[in-house]
Structure formats: structure tokens, C-alpha cells
Symmetry: C2
Subunit: 299 residues, 2 copies
């Protein structure tokens, strides 16, 4: 990545992050709305930090496909952040990964108790569908987006990945299983973010197929980089206890391939994704820069 | 209810219950599909019994509004059973009501562990949206149904009711709070069942409004009757430990009004609902009979 791009991307990230967070603030129920505790819990986890990478990827994809009304797209982009947040609130619960911290702040159940954390996850999940339903797109597009979202989340997607992640703890890692967990649990929602951006810009099906191809690779790379950060990072940077995944006996790329080979795999996947984005010409430049940004986290 | 109606309704319930259960069997992922444990858990809770009252009410409403293709409607009706099941799997978890039995069989987390039970609930929630998306109705109807479903489930609906139920435990009961919990936690999905049936039959908005009115009353009556069964029933009939709600310090109608007054309130609500259904003429007869059936559970 050239320094020109770095500066340009930095502005882009800052601008879109603010747009997403302002939109989230307006779309989430007010913190004092009855019953207030659930709305406070939803807002707590949504505003506990985060790079807003999924909505930003979706916006970049929408724009790369010629989408002209990013304001209308914002609620759909935000629905991806809600789904991501639902997923990690449930993942952090004591019966799942039992994490006390995320992004350097106490997890939902540590602050609100397990019952409210569970319900805050459910409520964010549901609100994501509500945001798509209430968006200003035509009905055909809304149904297409909801199909992609529900396919991404189901037992062939994010939830399936979480299941295999749990039942594989302490097992010896195999390439197939690891790829399944990473592609589904993290990768599938990143893939969906790119596809949904294209769908809302009414991109032709061949373009959606290319976005899916790139999204699958970028999503897998994203999780490999997360694994590497878990091994190498410290609390200040990662916001949770380093090495936590290894303590849990989780299957990770560094565990199976070692750190250097894992980096090479992530680099290769990002290279493949960028190759697809290059086919979008100038419009795809931001998607390529975002790919570098995601890869850059390990350096 | 005359004996003629009782016999007629008995056949109706048996026929529709079988249709719903056959459809559920075909719509849920196969028990051996990878990752099998989540699909087994989803099927376990779905097929652990139940009267299928929500899908049957939805079918009856669809038919009362002149809907002519009940086979096409079945997946949408089944989505209501999936949502109901998601909701009670999460409700039964140790961090919520901590119930060991439901309908006389061990609850999901007792069989599959808490993590898989949590994810089975999430997966059923998501599958409900998938069934609506994949149904054969036009996009405008699908979006209308999904709007109703997501409004019914959110923090102004089922999830809001669960929240107030939890935070009110051990508090002194007030009429307003009790009505909020019961109308939202149980009543809202019954109301949605009636509305969604009407929506799929393309009923005019005035009819949908009347269905919502009757559904609100029937839904509240349904939960009052559940409260009465909890006080009066035994394990054989209710399938869970009687008096469990009182032990939890839950707010219930019998606690606030006593048994006799609670019965009178349920009777009054069912009478009001039947008054609405009578306006549908012969077509509304099954809905009136179903109302009697629901009320009949306390005698």
C-alpha cells in the first residue's frame, strides 16, 4: 500500500466509521426507552468500540457497484454490525467462550448479567432484520438481502461455524475443519457484507458472484489474522487476553500451520481478493485498500 | 361449545397438527446433516410435543380471510412455531428461568448442554426468517410478514416482555406491569399469528386490524390460562413442575387477582375475541372454536 493510499484510506475509514456510528445511534432504541435495561445493554455492546469493518466493506462494495445513495444504504450496512454484535455477545457468554473482556471493556454479561446479555443478543439479531425491512429499498431487493443475511447466519453459516468451533475444542486440528470454522464463523458475514452492498446497488448477478468469491477469501484471511493477533498481540492492542484461544484449546491457523505459514496464507488470500477488486477499475480501489488495511493489522 | 363443534374442532386440530408437523419435518435440516448436533437439537425441541397452536391459529386466520392455498402457507405458519420454540429454549436456560422440563421432557440444555441449546435457539430464530424468505408468496407480502414478525419479536414485543418478566421477579405485582409482560411475552406472537394469516390471504387492512384486536385479547387470555394451569395443574397435564412460576416469584394473574377473578378475565377476553371472529361469518367459526378450545384448557 502506498502512503497516498494510506492517507486516503485513513480519511475514508474515519468518515464512514462516523457515518455508521451516527446511523447506529439513530437506529437503536433510546437508552431510556422502556424497558430501559435491554436498550442500554444493546447500546453498550454496539458502542464498546470496533472498527465497523463489515458495514464499511458493505458501503465500499455498494459504491464500487455504482450505488448512488449511500445514506439510504446506511441502515442495511448497520444491520451487519448488529448481527456481528449479536454473535459476539452470545459467543462471550459463560456457556460459550466465557470471555470477560472484548475490545478492552467488560463483556455484556459482566455488566448486565447473563439473562439480559442473552436477550440483548437476541434483540440485536431481530433489529437487524427490522432495519432491512424498514429500509427504503424496493421489496425485491429487501427480500434478496434478507435471503443472503439468513443464509449467512444459519447452520450452514455463522451459527454452523460456532457449533463446529465448540465441538472441536481440544480436538486435533485438521485443515478441513479449521477452514469450515473460519470460513463460516467469521468469513461468511464478511462475504455477505460484500454481496449485500452489490445487491443494494442492483449489480448484475455476475458481479455479485465475483464479490462473493473475493468476500470468501477476505473473510477467511480476516479470521487467520485474528488468530495471529491472538498469539502475538497484547491486551492493549487486541482488547482481550492474548493467547485466550489457545488456552481454550481452540483450533487456529497458527496451531496447525505455525505463524509464518499462516501469514503467507493470509497474504495469498488477500492477494486473490485484490485481484477480483481490480476488475472493478477505479471504483474497486477502496476495496483493495481495505483488503490491505485488514492484512496490515498483523504487521 | 356444542358437542358438534367439539368433534369438528377435534378433527380440524388433528388434521392441521399433522400437516404442520409433516411440514416442519421437511423444512428443518436433516438430523444427520453436518454439523449434526445442532440439527438434532433443533429437531429435539421442535418435536418434543406441543399443540402447534400458533401455526394452527395462523392457518385458521388465513382460511377465514379466504386464503386458498394452505399448502403454500404452511412454511409461513411453521415459522411461528420455530419462533415460539426459539423463545422457550432461551427462556428455559439456567441464566433465565432454569427449567429442567417442558412438556414433560428434559429441556434442550439438559440434553445438549447450554452452548448448543443457545445456538439451537438462535438457529431456529434465523430459520424462521429463512422460511418466510423462501416461501412462494410475492415480495410485497413477504416483506409485510417479516415486518410483522420482527415487530412482534423485538423489545416492544416478545423480547421486551421477557425482559420485564426477568427484572420484575420478586417485585410486587401491578396491573400495568403484568399486562405488559403477558401481552408481549406470549400474547404478541399469537396476535402476529392471526395477522400473518390475514396478510398472506391478502386481506384488506381493516380486516388485519380486526384480527390484531382479537389476537391481542386471545393472546392475553392464553397466558392467563397458562398461569392458572401453573397454579392448578400437575406435572402429568402441564408437563412441567406445577407452581414453578410462584416459586420463581413471577408476576402472574392468580397472584394479583386470585384464581376466580383470573378465570373471569380470561373468559371476558375470549368472549371479546369471539365477538370479532363472528364478524367473519361461517369462515370465522373455526377461530371461535379455537378460542373456546384455548379457554377450555382451564376446565
Amino acid at each position: 500500500m502506498t502512503s497516498r493510499n494510506l492517507v486516503g484510506l485513513d480519511d475514508y475509514l474515519r468518515e464512514k466509521k462516523k457515518a455508521v456510528e451516527d446511523a447506529l445511534d439513530g437506529l437503536l432504541p433510546a437508552a431510556d426507552k422502556y424497558p430501559a435495561i435491554i436498550h442500554r445493554a444493546m447500546r453498550y455492546s454496539i458502542f464498546a468500540g470496533g472498527k465497523r469493518i463489515r458495514p464499511i466493506l458493505a458501503i465500499a462494495s455498494y459504491e464500487a457497484c455504482g450505488g448512488r445513495d449511500p445514506t439510504s444504504f446506511l441502515p442495511v450496512g448497520c444491520s451487519l454490525e448488529l448481527i456481528h454484535t449479536f454473535s459476539f455477545i452470545h459467543d462471550d457468554l459463560p456457556c460459550m467462550d466465557d470471555d470477560d473482556y472484548r475490545r478492552g471493556t467488560p463483556t455484556s454479561h459482566r455488566v448486565f448479567g447473563e439473562a439480559i446479555a442473552l436477550l440483548a443478543g437476541d434483540a440485536l439479531f431481530n433489529l437487524a432484520y427490522q432495519l432491512i425491512v424498514d429500509s427504503t429499498f424496493d421489496e425485491v431487493t429487501k427480500v434478496e438481502v434478507m435471503k443472503e443475511m439468513s443464509d449467512a447466519l444459519g447452520t450452514e453459516g455463522v451459527i454452523g461455524g460456532q457449533v463446529v468451533d465448540i465441538i472441536s475444542e481440544g480436538e486435533s486440528p485438521t485443515e478441513d475443519k479449521l477452514r469450515f470454522i473460519h470460513s463460516k464463523k467469521t468469513g461468511r458475514l464478511i462475504l455477505a457484507s460484500l454481496k449485500i452492498g452489490g445487491m443494494c446497488a442492483h449489480a448484475p448477478s455476475e458481479t455479485i458472484r465475483r464479490l462473493a468469491d473475493a468476500g470468501g477469501k477476505l473473510g477467511l484471511a480476516f479470521q487467520i489474522i485474528d488468530d495471529l493477533l491472538d498469539v502475538e498481540g497484547d491486551f492493549e492492542v487486541v482488547g482481550k487476553e492474548a493467547g485466550k484461544d489457545s488456552v481454550h484449546g481452540k483450533l487456529t491457523y497458527p496451531l496447525l500451520y505455525g505463524v509464518d505459514r499462516s501469514r503467507q496464507i493470509a497474504e495469498g488470500l488477500c492477494g486473490d481478493a485484490k485481484h477480483v477488486f481490480e476488475q472493478f477499475g477505479d471504483r474497486g480501489e477502496i476495496l483493495s485498500d481495505l483488503t490491505d488495511f485488514i492484512l496490515h493489522r498483523i504487521y
